[in-house]
Symmetry: C2
């Protein structure tokens, strides 16, 4: 913690710099490789995802995140996601740092949502509603608090005590609410961060000028998505073949146009919000360049602060 892994403002800056580099071609972020695992009985057990990326200016490193997520981990007292990040030098391929990526992933995801809010929410947004008081709900709340002047932050969770605990953590403007509808109605920014398979946010609940941040890919009802004035994703390439995402399904059915991409918006290559009344949806998969940006800053600060542990790959190179 000492080196700032939980510093959401720095992570927001990191993500903006990375998105600009990605849009301008200085970062190459290939598709993830997903390994899925099932119990002997056939039920879903978890996944591990390989996320390689390389970045020229201002980084000059390559990076891989090896990101696990296992359904039963919380029962075991472990985080659902457990991630490892390796950063390598682009001149020699030598690993510069090997670090835990679990908190980095949580924080950078909140930071990405904050960047979405910065470019896509109304500047005068005052009320936000978050559905799902888990790790991503928490870091997204931090992100919204960092980029907007919120007077009210409503938190809903199926488990009332989780919503109450998170609201206490987040400060006086935060309060637990008793229904999804209460969290969504009148909110300028709506965040859904759940594992629901069934969409549950009704079109009628969404006010004019809203920004919806849908983390679970199947939370906003189709009618509401189709009625959006603008749909933005982090990277369309990642969505195109993922039919579980409602935006992909609706695009393939011809019901919505090809979504915009947030990195292009940050780089000024695509429009952000174009009017007070626009209803905008932001939907994201996560990109390795976001992890790279935060991990690289932490690596540098760890070295500056003397917090690193030096590891030897070998005592001497055996063969050159």
């Amino acid at each position: 913690m000492k080196i700032g892994v939980l510093d959401i403002s720095k992570a927001i800056e990191d993500v903006e710099v990375a998105f600009k580099a990605l849009a301008e071609g200085r970062i190459v972020n290939p598709p993830k490789t997903v390994l899925d695992f099932y119990e002997t009985g056939g039920s879903y057990k978890g996944h591990i995802v390989s996320m390689p990326v390389h970045a020229l200016s201002p980084y000059n490193v390559a990076c891989i995140k090896w990101a696990a997520g296992f359904v039963r981990n919380p029962q075991r007292g472990l985080p659902h996601g457990i991630d490892v990040i390796v950063i390598s030098d682009l001149e020699t391929g030598k690993p510069l740092a090997i670090m835990d990526g679990t908190l980095i992933t949580a924080v950078r995801t909140g930071a990405v949502n904050a960047v979405a809010a910065k470019y896509l929410a109304r500047k005068d947004s005052e009320i936000a509603g978050i559905v799902g008081a888990g790790v991503i709900g928490r870091t997204t709340a931090w992100g919204l608090q960092a980029v907007l002047e919120l007077s009210e932050l409503k938190i809903y969770d199926i488990k009332r005590d989780k919503a109450e605990a998170l609201a206490r953590e987040l400060g006086p403007e935060a309060k637990p609410v008793s229904s999804v509808q209460e969290a969504v109605s009148e909110s300028d920014v709506v965040v859904t961060a759940t594992t629901s398979e069934e969409p549950f946010v009704e079109a009628e609940w969404l006010k004019s000028g809203v920004l919806c941040i849908q983390m679970g890919k199947r939370e906003i009802k189709e009618k509401a998505i189709v009625s959006m004035n603008k749909i933005v994703v982090d990277n369309w390439e990642q969505y195109r073949n993922y039919d579980r995402a409602l935006v992909t399904k609706l695009y393939k059915s011809g019901l919505i146009p090809r979504p915009f991409e947030l990195p292009q918006i940050v780089a000024g290559q695509s429009p952000g919000r174009e009017g007070q009344g626009e209803r905008i949806l932001f939907d994201s998969f996560g990109l390795a360049c976001e992890d790279l940006a935060v991990a690289y800053r932490l690596y540098q600060d760890a070295v500056k602060g003397g917090f690193e542990t030096k590891l030897a790959l070998w005592d001497y190179p055996h063969w050159v």
Copy 2:
């Protein structure tokens, strides 16, 4: 070294077990992701490859190799390739081990070639010729010595002193020779392990019953490849879209049939050598499951032997 990273016989066993598991569907080995890097002037600088894999019985782990190769490393006193391997538990996603993969890569590649020799060379092979006295030439020589009763092992390298030094290392049956033709002619097993872009092994030099192991993908002349009785690769999926490989080019031109795969041969699903006179080519890209197999054995032996260094990903899980 204490835990046996240079033990070629164990690595050969490891690779056979992994190939059988792969052919029988217990290992899932997705395609690699390759990141290529160029100097400002446009010349090729190096690459980093992401190689994820997961393995059920007898492993129950997932593994990633993050494998760098940089052209100018040897000038800097560094190995051309520098690799990191992470092994993760398939029940929780927790990393079990993070280790250097540089020597593992070199040794498993020699072991794969040994497995190819075991299934594809004539049982009575006595003479082998190796072109290219680098790291892969060395570990392949070890592998051939482990699986064949060689009376003569000819080593050729553009740099005569490298061939001499390797021959001294390899024992009394090894000797440096002065030309590619001398290394290839009369050899029962021919290995090319060079970075040549121009094929240089003539069809006329290859004797009846030969096994050619082509590591550089463009070393055996097209006429010789077309005249082979059997062509075997490690994994056809990896070749199909890689036109730089001569076997891919010749397949696409309709000049050779679809190659066999070594894992299927090891598992008894495809034929190996079917006659003393067959000329067989083995061509390979390398598979992450080979690294997994060797790394997993080393991890287990390191823990048993008390050679491991324990690393903490965190002091306590921050959020569960």
